[in-house]
Symmetry: C2
Subunit: 652 residues, 2 copies
């Protein structure tokens, strides 16, 4: 072949690749790399879509997931929701084109974001079975549902509608997608059942009916009728905008003044800030955005960082929350009766590339959890469970970068996956989760996100360690206590017998020997209530005074039952009691009751003390610095603070 | 907001997402998730493209990679090749559109496959700096180069050419791409330098000049002028074709008879096989492919599996090969003087989803490699190094699933990353590598691929273990030998003195005590040659006869120097010598010379024996079953085979 024509011959091959062709060939990128995973991914895409639709619409989700086995490895999948439905003219496009959808061009915390998920599932079904998908949709104003059979014309990435129809449907509104696909139905790890269970846990306002191909129908009932508010759309925050994108946004803006463009096309830019940016960038505020050139754009881009701009709004985020994390963990742990649930940590919102996000962590430890394996990780992104690609995930990388030896887990060299009887749950919610691929199986290890997860893990780790310390010290002191309490009275009795005198009261002696403040939490569950009693014993020989602090689960607290009333109760549930003087060998009691948590909903709180040397205290931890008590207790109040501790410790 | 209009309001938001917009927003999926990685990815896309172009064109690649620092975090990148160039009308499309290219619609082993890489890099540069890319191209028939400045119109995924120009260029033909991008240049792990070095190792026919932003120009010289043959295009193999895809192929076929369609649109379907498929499927062979319905297609799909079809052709694959793997490992290990290079394993080709692929593994062990860390993994796909996403990669998952304790590495519970002083290199080549994402950082853990890698690892692991066994047995026997050799003569001398007689010859006594056949390989490197001597000592008290086997590196072997001539030398380098009887305390020597391997190019071969009880042998392993000696040695030859062993062991 003559070289002359090589470039020409090559040119004949250079052509467009339709996005459908691309994913037909690379279906594993969409999560369809094995029959087992393909079935799970299809369910996941359907359920993600359904939950998003209901949440946007503001209705409590009522989902049906049904899987039938058609053939050796062919399954029929139905996912149905009671969302708003889709108008007739849009149905073919939404389901019959890849990269088509409503959620890509907005910034909000939704499960689906790409316009790839459900049409990808339809494409996969068509590729593997040759059969069309059936989509039914009904909006609130329709009397009957509209139903189509469609294939995707992959060469053109366009829907090919084989049949249009109207159907009577008993749902008032909603969408139903049916596909045939090659799959494999399994139970256990990474199964549809596991995925739905994990979904139900963090979306307790949803009712999901699941009909597996074999076996009985399973219903995940709604356990809360409180729908998270619909996702709030936000504009891009200036901090995350790339220079080239800024230029393009300016060119496309409908505004005619630079300040107006900045103010309305970005979040957190007020009229004052917009002017400040222009001044800092030395660009006339009245200039036309369309005329923004590279050097001016660059100066504005730099000014974004120099001018003080508020952090992105965070009301657009909907974290899972501490209670549900605990419930989630409890559910997974099942009957392994773990020893300790570290109080979950929800970090304050942070920002990556202009997107607000939030990290949450929960740890459960001990009991019958297997101790000779890597810890188990439960991952969620925007309330959707992640079951694959753990190794590639920001969550796993954050866990591997923490030195868990400090927190009582085993870990070779202080890096890598820790071993031990623990489960770690991590959730990241964001207006845009940066998934590593279109299959949305793992969160990209963006430094800002990893850092926030690490902080949450460390905070959780400290709680775990403090629990273990408490446990170790309690065990040690208990032992001493038991010896003193059993031996001394016997000795006293013996001495009394010998001397013929009545046995002396040796309580103070015991206290002198023990020399601790013993704090003990007892929880009784009855009549649907947790009755909690925190007893503070003074087993020292001097009278003592201290402040006790706890985080009360406000959503479950029956405030009328809190005895005595806390000196301070903050909106986040942090409560502080300034206790009265406790004479040696005496105690004071704090009591409160919790409702609606279910038997296993509360086991142990976090207790903190201040005002006494904490080495004397067993059963509570020193108050962490982040409680900011100075700021929150009214001034002039002599409590707590270590100066008092000295005085108190000496008196009596 | 009235519910009536909700679906309508939603419809207003439902719209097309251009593939450029999609990747603008999800640039991390293309590998641009951090400044450091973005620079590496840009280089990688340029170099992948350049090497593919040269290989297709059949010229030895001559590449320039130049990075200049423009600003704090802005870099200017140039990648230049001497490939065929691109015809003028195609330049804007190839570089200014995502999902456009020449390699997607063919099936062959190329680095680039998606039509995303280089245009993705251009998109990233434009997003982060606002600056256009400059592309220059010259084909063999052009006198001057054609040069354009272009931006990508992301809303439409179309090139926007800002400037067209002609330039005098001293290259006869080739392509040059310049981008500005936000990046960070680093040295060390996951750096551009590491990537280029790893690339040079497995593409020794390429010359790559690298000008880093600071510091001296580095040239990776061409060390071989043997260009791998251009990638061979193959048709899809029937085994990997999905039912839906089969249906669509039939509809689009230009053929009018089913048999003709099967025969020419698939690989490995002969006219006879096509007829057999039709018979098995009960579909008339003369029916028109366009009329193929689902049930017939399904029957044909089933028949594909029932009829015997040859495995896909494998001449389209170009593995790295054992020698280059060894060189690659040597290069990485540098000065750590490892104790052992396990002979690399290249598995025979296998198939996943209709694509032929091949797995290769090399292991290096010991020396000063750190022993207290997870083993280091070097990953390659289609001769391109993979530096990120190891955890998600089929290679890592294969390694983690092997029980390395059997092969002498430390591993907790026999699963997970092994620890120890070892480096494992894994290469997968395929007509289509199933990357986990468009960034081409990790190979999807497709079961067939993982299984082949596991087999290669196990084979390599066995060689590692056999080395360690050999080492351990040699050490043990050496010790005994030294004692016997130093103590016995002293005793003999003493006795002689006492009795006044001359000291006796105790060699036979030593042999009796040792009772081993000692095989020892000595390698001397001089005048650019490795002179290898394998000495077989008979340290037993009987005469011995055995066969010795070795794998000779044929590409370096000077055949004239092999002394004595092997009884058999196979095309794959497997050589067998039927040795003469060796009297007690005597030895025979086999010698050969190797040329052109460089000082560190050969250190130790694999030696095997047959014909004697292998428990008597130190320094060689029992001949593995897969040598198939029965089949390869001419019949009637009495060698080797274990029956002989008995006879031999008794004689003398």
């Amino acid at each position: 072949m003559p070289r002359q024509s090589f470039a020409e011959r090559l040119a004949a091959k250079q052509r467009e690749i339709s996005v459908s062709e691309f994913f037909e060939r690379n279906k594993h990128i969409l999560g369809f790399d094995s029959a087992t995973k393909a079935l799970l991914t299809s369910v996941k895409e359907g359920v993600d879509n359904a939950l998003d639709a209901c949440q946007e619409y503001g209705v409590l989700p009522d989902l049906l997931v049904q899987i039938d086995r058609v053939d050796r490895d062919e399954y029929h999948l139905v996912v149905e929701d009671n969302g708003p439905g889709i108008v007739k003219r849009q149905v073919p496009k939404v389901f019959g084109r890849l990269l088509y959808g409503s959620r890509f061009h907005t910034w909000s915390q939704t499960r689906g974001q790409q316009g790839l998920g459900i049409s990808g599932a339809i494409l996969y079904g068509q590729i593997t079975t040759g059969k069309p998908a059936v989509v039914r949709s009904k909006t609130a104003q329709d009397d009957v549902a509209y139903q189509i059979e469609l294939l995707i014309d992959t060469k053109r990435n366009r829907p090919q509608v084989l049949k249009r129809d109207f159907q009577v449907w008993d749902r008032e509104h909603g969408t139903r997608v049916e596909t045939h696909l090659r799959g494999r139905f399994i139970n256990g790890r990474q199964s549809v059942m596991e995925y739905l269970r994990a979904t139900a846990i963090v979306n307790p306002y949803a009712r999901i009916v699941f009909q597996p191909p074999d076996g009985a129908r399973r219903t995940f009932d709604r356990v809360s009728s409180e729908l998270p508010r619909p996702p709030v759309e936000v504009k891009p925050h200036p901090y995350g905008v790339e220079l080239g994108t800024l230029l393009q946004m300016a060119k496309e803006s409908s505004h005619r003044r630079l300040t107006a463009f900045l103010q309305s096309d970005f979040s957190r830019i007020s009229s004052r800030v917009a002017k400040e940016i222009c001044r800092e960038a030395e660009v006339p505020p009245e200039s036309h955005p369309k005329n923004l050139n590279l050097s001016r754009a660059k100066r504005i881009h730099v000014a974004f960082r120099r001018v003080k701009i508020m952090a992105p709004p965070t009301d657009c985020l909907s974290p899972i929350g501490q209670r549900l994390i605990r419930t989630g963990l409890r559910n997974v742990v099942g009957s392994l009766r773990p020893e300790f649930y570290a109080p979950p940590v929800t970090r304050p919102p942070a920002v990556y590339g202009g997107h607000p996000f939030q990290a949450e962590v929960g740890i459960v430890y001990g009991g019958e959890l297997p101790g000779d394996r890597p810890v188990e990780i439960l991952r969620y992104a925007n309330r959707a469970p992640l079951l694959y690609q753990q190794g590639a995930c920001a969550t796993a990388q954050a866990i591997e970068s923490v030195d868990w030896r400090r927190y009582g887990l085993e870990q070779r060299g202080g890096r890598g996956m820790p071993y031990g009887p623990a489960i770690i749950l991590v959730h990241v919610c964001a207006t845009r989760v940066p998934f590593t691929s279109e299959a949305k199986e793992a969160i990209s290890p963006i430094p800002e996100i990893v850092a926030e997860i690490v902080r949450a893990l460390q905070e959780s780790g400290r709680r775990l360690r403090s629990h273990m310390n408490k446990k170790a010290r309690r065990a040690k002191t208990s032992e001493k206590f038991e010896i003193v309490r059993s031996v001394l009275p016997l000795m006293a009795e013996k001495s009394a017998k010998i001397t013929g005198r009545p046995p002396p009261d040796i309580t103070r002696t015991i206290a002198k020997i023990m020399n601790v403040i013993w704090i003990d939490e007892r929880v009784v569950f009855e009549d649907g209530r947790h009755r909690v009693r925190v007893q503070v014993y003074n087993y020292t020989s001097a009278r003592k005074r201290l402040a006790l602090h706890a985080v009360l689960p406000l959503d479950a607290l029956d405030e009328a039952t809190v005895q005595p009333a806390p000196t301070q109760l903050r909106a986040d549930g942090k409560a502080s009691w300034k206790l009265p003087w406790i004479p040696p060998t005496e105690k004071v009691v704090i009591a409160f009751e919790l409702v609606g948590l279910g038997r296993r909903g509360y086991e142990e709180g976090d207790l903190f003390v201040s005002g006494v040397p904490t080495t004397q205290v067993v059963g509570a931890e020193p108050l962490p610095g982040d409680w900011d008590l100075e700021a929150t207790l009214s001034e002039g109040d002599d409590l707590p603070g270590d100066p008092l501790a000295e005085e108190v410790a000496e008196s009596g």
